[in-house]
Symmetry: C2
Subunit: 417 residues, 2 copies
Amino acid sequence: MSNIAASIITIGDELLIGQTIDTNSAWIAKQLNQQGIDLRRRVAVGDEWQPIINALDDELKEAQLVIITGGLGPTADDITKPLLLHYFGGAMRTDARVLEHVKGIFAKRNRPMLERNLKQAEVPDTCTVLFNRLGTAPGMWFEREGKIVISLPGVPFEMVAIMEDEVLPRLLDRFESDAIIHHTIVTVGEGESFIAEKIQSIEESLPSHIKLAYLPGAGMVKLRLTGKGSDEAALNELIVGYKNKIAEMLKDIVIAMSDMPLERVLFEQFMLKGKSLGLAESCTGGYIAHHLTQVPGSSAYFKGGIVCYQTSIKENVLGVSTDTIMMSGEVSEATAIELAKGAMKVLDVDCALSVTGLLGPATDEDKEPVGTVWMATASMDKVVSRKFVFHYDRIRNKEMAVSMGMLMIYKYISDVN
Amino acid sequence: MSNIAASIITIGDELLIGQTIDTNSAWIAKQLNQQGIDLRRRVAVGDEWQPIINALDDELKEAQLVIITGGLGPTADDITKPLLLHYFGGAMRTDARVLEHVKGIFAKRNRPMLERNLKQAEVPDTCTVLFNRLGTAPGMWFEREGKIVISLPGVPFEMVAIMEDEVLPRLLDRFESDAIIHHTIVTVGEGESFIAEKIQSIEESLPSHIKLAYLPGAGMVKLRLTGKGSDEAALNELIVGYKNKIAEMLKDIVIAMSDMPLERVLFEQFMLKGKSLGLAESCTGGYIAHHLTQVPGSSAYFKGGIVCYQTSIKENVLGVSTDTIMMSGEVSEATAIELAKGAMKVLDVDCALSVTGLLGPATDEDKEPVGTVWMATASMDKVVSRKFVFHYDRIRNKEMAVSMGMLMIYKYISDVN
């Protein structure tokens, strides 16, 4: 059959007033995409009856599959279940397995069981129950006129568990569809216009069923090739061919041939080259360490770091001299270099990166302007230092410093033979 | 006039295949909300002509204001500008101020200027240009039949700058509207059902124009009261009255009377009580330090931390005895306590939190099960240790450990007189 079109409806006032960032949609989108299901639209609406009904009506006009998240909690602002009962008809029934499960959760947590918790085990008799092993609100699967509506809780890890346990296997069974194949190249150091110019001839020669997208990030641009077709192997071969041609033209700036975050690139490079790494983070406050340790197994190369937020830690733990701080300032090349050398010694690593800067919003008359960040990498045979000036707000300046810090580490490790 | 209804349309295939998480919508939603503008829907569509046209048609039926983000880059996958030219008519013209600005950016970065970069200064002559001081793609403001369509770049910091510089002041000028007021109470340690039961009598007595929402998070529940009305002062007084009543009924579990993250609560408590804090993070890899340092001025109480990812850092930097690690294991109460005491000493702080655990996915036959995390707080007069077992994946286990670690710190500081 031809590809099916899907929509996601997320429910919750918190999405419309900006109290919550919607991470569920992106996760669901990725899963559907991997099964070759075409997500056409994502819609967010508030906790109100009529807008939800309208969204359902609208999306069902063009989509064969609608996934709804949110509004399944035990409190009065949660209206998805009665709404779906109304929409699909039928009567409420208590599901024995869910009831048992809800009781078990409360017994395990040693909490009193309330009437409203028991209600979590009620479902319309017009749906198939999607068991929620991590929570009390079950998912629901409705069908009408060949179209499917799935309701899932908004709590991210519960949604994920139900998708993996119950929804994705059923969708795989149900639909055969065209393959959708993505390939991504990760580049650093050049802007998207520059890249577009370099690979213009290839971009213009792409057949119409293969799309090229530019995804710019901090200091990096990802290039994504996407194709769709019934012959998965042939399609893959075709896309890989274009990918290799593009990578060949951009070879100086390509750091990965698949969609992976920088921390994963670093992990692979350090493992390959058998080096160890340490950090001395002042203004980035542990955020680089956090990124590096997102990769399972990263302890094999990343020994640890010092978050030297106050001056005393820079001096007493990392051995930066009081003179250097007095003469050059905390945000200076000299301090960055002493921090990196200190971290290399204290943490006993092959290479250490240091970061010291002023992210804002406050500034100090005597010091560097807000956004100034000094970084250094130190290893046995080389010290490299670099100054950055970021022009954004505190949060964004921190993110930029993290990306640039990881690129400094990349520069070190890619130079190691 | 009555409140205006708004919609957001975000454009980009990366949103529909789950490659990017949409943070723009939440930010825009918050700003509109603060101006009393009612966001009705958020819609995400791909980089394709007809679906974007359809979304515009649909949203303009009920909204007086539509904000579009994305699709304004210099590469071939960016189609928003030609599409809006088609939709609103007119012809392309080169904007002199934008052109000057684009040239300036390239000169400053010392990059060659390409034909496609010059094109960034072209805009339909049917729009008002919204100047983008941080990037090359200007925003655009169109009007037709009393309705407004605003197009902004998808790069978050550029979008934010244009909203703040150009869009929000114009919207404020244009619309007077009903006030929307939110008040939030932050609670820890009880579930939403328990809370709902406790405050049922108040919830049932709320007038229809005031809504109560439960926003559960890791170990916490936020309660949000929202009201809308023309008399802002009276409305605020009414909501604050309900808020105080609710807080009174929940007083043992309330940690903040406004919507603030835990790191902000900690900052205020430590400042109030004049104590200093340090960290020894193993499995959380610096992520707690990152959270604490998101608050401007946090260096006044947070001195720093040690990310002791490998055993050698635990022993050599923090002084955990090799015996303890051999006998009890790295993930154990004894190691957690020695880490906290070591951090207190090395960092010279009033209180230190340690975190050591196994987040997964890999496990080790001899060790604790995946998800086991030991934490301890150490201060001059007290050591408190606690074991947690999280049942999620690596990323989620880390987030849970961060929340629980910050709650351990909260427990320490709230007990200080």
